[in-house]
C-alpha cells in the first residue's frame, strides 16, 4: 500500500470512531448498577430497565409514541401512496409544483412548523391531544412515503394495470389488486420511514405536547434538561432497539425491491 493511502486511512479511522462511538456507549451504560452516568459501568444490573418499565411517565411515553407512530404510518402511507401514484401519471408544472409542496415539510426547519402548529392548536384546543399529534407527525412523515413510493413507481409498468382494466376490473380494484402489490416494497419502506419519523420526532412534539400527553423523545428531552439518571440510558436503548429494527426492515424491503426490478 502506498504511503499516502496509509495516511488517508490513518485519518479516516478516528473519523469513523467519531461517527460510530456515541452509538456504542448508550447500551452498555443502560445496564449500569450506579446512579451516575460514569462510563464504563462497573457492575451489571437491570435496575434502570425496571425503573423505566415501572414508571407511568416513561412507559406511558413509550406507549404514546408507539400508538402515534403506528397511526401516523398508516395515515401517511395511504395519503402518500395515493399522491405518489397520482403524480406518476401527470407531468409538467403540476408535477413539479406538487412534488415541491409535498417534500416541503422535510426541508423547512421543524421549529418554524412547530411554532405555527402551536399557534393554531392553542386556539383549536388540540395541544396535548392525539389528533394534534397525528396531524403534526403525518405532515413530517408524508414526504418520506411520497419519495419511497415515487421511486418504485418509476419502474412500474403501467401496462399491467391497463391489462386489468381491459379484463374488466374497475380502476380502484385494478389499483388495489395489481398496482399496490407491485409497488409493495416501496409502500412498505415508506410505512417504516413514516413510523421512524414520528417515533423519533421531538421538536414539533415539544410544542404540541402537555403533561397529559407526551411522547418518549419529549419525555427524554425534559428529563435531560433536569436531572440526569441512567433511566434515560434505558429509554435511549429502547428507542434504539425499536428504530433499528424498523430501519433494518426498511433497508431489507428496499434491497428486495432492487433485486425484483
Amino acid at each position: 500500500m502506498r504511503k499516502s493511502r496509509i495516511a488517508l486511512y490513518a485519518f479516516c479511522v478516528p473519523v469513523a470512531l467519531w461517527l460510530v462511538a456515541p452509538t456504542l456507549v448508550v447500551i452498555p451504560l443502560s445496564f449500569t448498577a450506579d446512579r451516575s452516568l460514569a462510563f464504563p459501568p462497573r457492575e451489571f444490573s437491570w435496575r434502570w430497565y425496571e425503573s423505566f418499565f415501572s414508571s407511568s411517565q416513561w412507559l406511558g411515553g413509550l406507549l404514546n409514541s408507539l400508538q402515534i407512530g403506528l397511526l401516523v404510518a398508516i395515515i401517511a402511507t395511504v395519503l402518500g401512496t395515493l399522491a405518489a401514484y397520482g403524480l406518476s401519471r401527470v407531468s409538467g408544472f403540476r408535477k413539479t409544483f406538487s412534488n415541491s409542496l409535498l417534500v416541503l415539510p422535510m426541508l423547512v426547519p421543524s421549529v418554524i412548523f412547530g411554532v405555527g402548529l402551536y399557534a393554531l392548536f392553542l386556539r383549536m384546543g388540540l395541544v396535548g391531544t392525539l389528533p394534534g399529534f397525528l396531524i403534526a407527525h403525518t405532515m413530517l412523515a408524508l414526504p418520506y412515503v411520497v419519495v419511497n413510493v415515487g421511486a418504485v413507481l418509476v419502474s412500474y409498468d403501467r401496462q399491467l394495470e391497463r391489462a386489468a382494466w381491459i379484463s374488466g376490473a374497475s380502476k380502484p380494484k385494478a389499483f388495489l389488486t395489481v398496482t399496490v402489490p407491485a409497488i409493495m416494497p416501496g409502500v412498505a419502506s415508506g410505512f417504516l420511514f413514516a413510523f421512524i419519523t414520528s417515533f423519533d420526532e421531538v421538536i414539533v412534539s415539544m410544542f404540541i405536547s402537555n403533561p397529559y400527553l407526551q411522547t418518549l423523545p419529549v419525555r427524554m428531552y425534559s428529563s435531560l434538561q433536569r436531572e440526569v439518571d441512567p433511566t434515560i440510558a434505558a429509554a435511549a436503548s429502547v428507542i434504539m432497539t425499536i428504530t433499528t429494527a424498523a430501519a433494518l426492515i426498511a433497508i431489507f424491503a428496499r434491497t428486495r425491491r432492487k433485486a425484483d426490478t
Binding site: C12, A38, G86, Y221
Partner: protein, 296 residues
C-alpha cells in the same frame, strides 16, 4: 417509464376525461391537506409577526435594531458556516478514501457515515453528554494518556461535535458521487507529464471534484440553520441561536410578535440559502438530494 410502454400520443398520460383526472382525484386532496396543516400554520406565524401586539412592522424594526437579535442571527450564521467548513474539511478525505476504495471497504465506510443519521436524535445527543461530560468517556481517555482533561460540554465545540457528526452523510455522499465519476487516468496523465502527485491532485483532481463539495456544502449549510436539540442540550444557554431563541420567545414568554419575527428571519435565511442552492446546482447541472433533513 420508457417511450415504448406509452400508448401513442400520450405525452402527458390520459387526463380530465371526466372532469377530474388522476391528479384531481388523487393528488389534489393530499395537496389541500398539506396546505391546510402545513402551509397555513406557518402563514399564521407570519401574520402574527406583523399584527401583534398591534398591526405594523415594529417587530421587524426590533429585529434589526436590537444588538441582541443581530448577534443571534450572526451567531446562527457563524455556527452554520463553521459546521459546513468542518464537515467539508473532514468529509473530503473521507469521501476520497471511500470513492477510491474497493467495494467492501466502500460499503463499510457508507454504513459508518450513515449510522449517526439513522440513530435517533435524542439518543445521539444523550450519547454525547455521556462522552463529553466532565467525568465522561473523553476525559477518562485523555487523562489515561496523560493529557489534561477538557471541559467541553455546554460549549460551542460540543455543539459542533454533535452537529457535524450527523451532517457528515449530507457532505460525504454528494462528494463520493462526483468523485466516482472522475476518470482516475486524468490526474495520472498529469503525473505522466511530470507533475508531482501533490500538484496533480490540487490542479487536476480537486477542481474536478469541486461540484460535489459545493452541493454538499450548500445542503449542510441549510440543514445547520435548523438545529434545535443539539444546541439546546450540548451548548451554553448564553450562546443561543435562532431556533432556540424562537422557542423561548413563544413557549416561555408567549411573545408571539417578536417570536414570529424571529421565525420569519429564520425562514428567510433558509429560503435565501435555497435560492442559492437552486442557482448553483442549475449552473453546474447537478442533482442534489436533500431527502431526510427535517429532523436534526
Amino acid at each position: 417509464m420508457t417511450t415504448a410502454t406509452r400508448p401513442a400520443g400520450s405525452g402527458a398520460p390520459p387526463r380530465a376525461r371526466r372532469g377530474l383526472g388522476p391528479y384531481g382525484i388523487l393528488v389534489l386532496p393530499v395537496i389541500l391537506i398539506v396546505v391546510l396543516c402545513f402551509v397555513v400554520p406557518m402563514l399564521t406565524v407570519l401574520v402574527r409577526a406583523v399584527t401583534e401586539p398591534e398591526p405594523g412592522l415594529q417587530n421587524f424594526a426590533w429585529l434589526f435594531a436590537s444588538d441582541h437579535t443581530l448577534a443571534l442571527i450572526g451567531r446562527t450564521l457563524r455556527l452554520a458556516g463553521a459546521a459546513t467548513l468542518i464537515t467539508a474539511l473532514i468529509g473530503y478525505p473521507y469521501a476520497y478514501a471511500m470513492a477510491t476504495a474497493g467495494p467492501r471497504v466502500q460499503a463499510i465506510m457508507l454504513l459508518v457515515v450513515l449510522l449517526p443519521f439513522w440513530t435517533s436524535m435524542m439518543v445521539r445527543t444523550f450519547a454525547w453528554i455521556i462522552i463529553l461530560q466532565n467525568n465522561g468517556v473523553l476525559n477518562a481517555m485523555l487523562t489515561g494518556v496523560g493529557l489534561p482533561p477538557q471541559s467541553l460540554l455546554y460549549t460551542q465545540t460540543a455543539v459542533l461535535i454533535g452537529m457535524c457528526q450527523v451532517l457528515m452523510p449530507f457532505m460525504v455522499l454528494p462528494m463520493v458521487a462526483v468523485m466516482r465519476s472522475i476518470d482516475m487516468r486524468i490526474p495520472l496523465a498529469a503525473q505522466t507529464f511530470g507533475a508531482p502527485p501533490v500538484k496533480a491532485f490540487f490542479t487536476v483532481y480537486l477542481p474536478m471534484s469541486l461540484p460535489g463539495v459545493l452541493s454538499g456544502a450548500l445542503i449542510v449549510f441549510i440543514l445547520s440553520l435548523g438545529f434545535y436539540v443539539t444546541p439546546a442540550l450540548l451548548g451554553s444557554p448564553r450562546e443561543q441561536i435562532l431556533p432556540n431563541a424562537l422557542f423561548n420567545q413563544i413557549v416561555d414568554l408567549l411573545n408571539w410578535g417578536q417570536g414570529g419575527a424571529l421565525a420569519v428571519a429564520l425562514l428567510v435565511t433558509v429560503g435565501l440559502a435555497f435560492v442559492l442552492v437552486y442557482l448553483v446546482t442549475r449552473a453546474l447541472g447537478l442533482k442534489v438530494n436533500v431527502a431526510g433533513g427535517a429532523q436534526l
